[in-house]
């Protein structure tokens, strides 16, 4: 394994807590590993498992999901849904041969900038130890999956010779 390997981690953050925690860490000049690319969502409950699959298949080495502590969700209980999806997703990914350490769920309130920074640094080191995932070695193309019922009329004409 290359000693220069810098893991790419996609981090999904909640607008109301963990995104602000990351912001706080920045304002307070708390140092943490620069390997995580944060994406802000309105809630951890918005996290469609497809996002995780897309990240991993597109070249990420790990995915970090963050949200408000249980009982503190801005939308009452959506972080519980995130937790349930995370557990089922992790089991499925384990069957696919993706190490459990590559997917992590962290609760972080808006005040926990220092803790979130520590968790990120910890995860980066864990994923670094696991090595590159290299899932995108073969370019993945997924059809746009558009559909039209058979009655759909469109202006394409075929000619017959």
């Amino acid at each position: 394994m290359s000693e220069n390997f810098e893991p790419v981690i996609i981090g999904f953050t909640c607008n109301w807590c963990s995104y602000r925690a990351a912001d706080l860490a920045g304002t307070a000049r708390v140092k943490y590993a620069p390997n995580v690319r944060l994406i802000r969502m309105m809630c951890s409950g918005r996290l469609d498992p497809t996002f995780v699959m897309k990240a991993l298949s597109g070249g990420a080495d790990g995915v970090l999901i963050t949200g408000c502590h249980p009982g503190e969700c801005h939308y009452i209980e959506q972080n519980y849904k995130a937790l349930r999806r995370f557990i089922l997703l992790k089991r499925t990914l384990t069957q696919m041969g993706i190490e459990p350490g590559r997917i992590k769920l962290v609760w972080a309130s808006a005040a926990e900038g220092v803790r979130l920074a520590a968790e990120i640094t910890k995860m980066v080191e864990e994923v670094r130890a696991l090595g590159p995932l290299n899932w995108n070695s073969e370019q993945v193309s997924v059809s746009s999956n558009q559909s039209s019922v058979i009655s759909d009329q469109s202006p394409t004409l075929i000619t017959v010779h």
Binding site: T50, V52, R84, T92, V142, N145, Q146, S147, T156
Partner: protein, 325 residues
């Protein structure tokens, strides 16, 4: 004017798609009346070289079923693409990989080992699979397996998708009717890349079972329980793939008392079939602590197999890490 040409080819598939086509009953006579069937290995004798000799795009309509498992499949996919004006990815294998695509959980060595050395077969340790073999008459070649089974559209451009394992015969009949109408100038084709012979919603939308707010306290297997025949199966803890599966079949399985297993592939707008199912199953689990949730999920014996039974090869990950190594 000579009749337009029709072809049907099978790659890694079971032959069920061909039966589904023949199952359109007397409408098959319309196919014969309107088309000149030039290549259809299961129904008539024609050689690959006959197809190679045809002009490019000289076949109007090709229904291509089966996944791309080996180099022969891949070569034929490219050949049929070149010779066809309209190439339809026909059936679940060609669209998402289907059951043959489940081999994407294993690598080629494991597949060969399972087929020739374990479980039902004892060939002895000296047996070795060879793709080339010399006989007095010359050298024999058999196709080589690709590392991963691919869907048709991962190999060539596809004009239309027609999912289903197999596609329902009434849907095939409707598609053939439409093509004939197009030939007669009475209709136009759907936009390129469209999924045809399907509905625009999910199996749940076609399912007659009663639905309430879901709170799943446990998952079980259908053979271990006696489900209420009028109530949503998922509500009764039976992993039913209806929420992520495209409509078009008329919810046949739930109507017959069995759970949907997802043969019609991802519903409209779903990029990764398994992810959509993970989302819909997990959201309705009745439990808020990791322990409670784990206990409910324990009831799903094989999550990856449950969520990707028909769509592993067409999923975002395409296969397991082992298969890709």
């Amino acid at each position: 004017m000579s009749k337009p040409k029709f072809a049907m080819y099978w790659a890694a598939s079971c032959g069920g798609c061909e039966i589904a086509v023949l199952n359109i009953h007397e409408k098959i006579l319309d196919v014969d009346a309107n088309f000149d069937v030039v290549f259809w290995p299961v129904a008539m004798d024609a050689k690959y070289k006959d197809v190679e000799a045809m002009d490019d795009e000289s076949i109007l309509l090709t229904l291509f079923n089966g996944g791309i498992r080996n180099d022969e499949n891949e070569k034929m996919a490219k050949l049929m693409r070149r010779k066809s004006k309209i190439l339809v990815s026909f059936g679940s294998c060609a669209c998402e990989g289907c059951i043959p695509g489940l081999a994407n959980f294993s690598n080629v060595d494991e597949i060969i080992d399972t087929a020739f050395h374990t479980l039902t077969t004892d060939n002895g340790s000296e047996f070795k699979l060879q793709t080339h073999y010399s006989v007095p008459e010359g050298e024999i070649h058999i196709p080589t397996l690709l590392p991963l089974l691919k869907t048709l559209d991962q190999v060539v451009k596809v004009d239309y998708y027609m999912p289903g394992c197999p596609p329902e015969s009434h849907q095939i009949a409707a598609v053939i009717d439409l093509v004939i109408q197009v030939l007669q100038g009475k209709a136009t084709l759907p936009s390129p890349g469209a999924t045809i012979g399907v509905g625009n919603s999910t199996v749940c939308d076609e399912c007659k079972r009663a639905r309430n707010e879901k709170k799943i306290k446990y998952f079980t297997r259908i053979q271990l329980t006696h489900p209420d025949p009028a109530l949503c199966l998922l509500e009764q803890g039976i992993p039913c793939n209806g929420p992520a599966t495209r409509s078009g079949c008329g919810a046949l399985c739930p109507a017959a008392g069995a759970q949907c297993i997802g043969c019609y592939g991802p519903a409209e707008g779903v990029m990764d079939y398994g992810s959509r199912l993970i989302s819909s199953f997990a959201s309705v689990i009745d439990g808020n602590t990791p322990e409670e949730i784990e206990k409910v999920i324990d009831g799903i014996a094989d999550p990856a197999g449950q969520f990707y039974r028909f769509s592993l090869a067409g999923s975002l990950l395409r296969g397991s890490k082992t298969a890709r190594s």
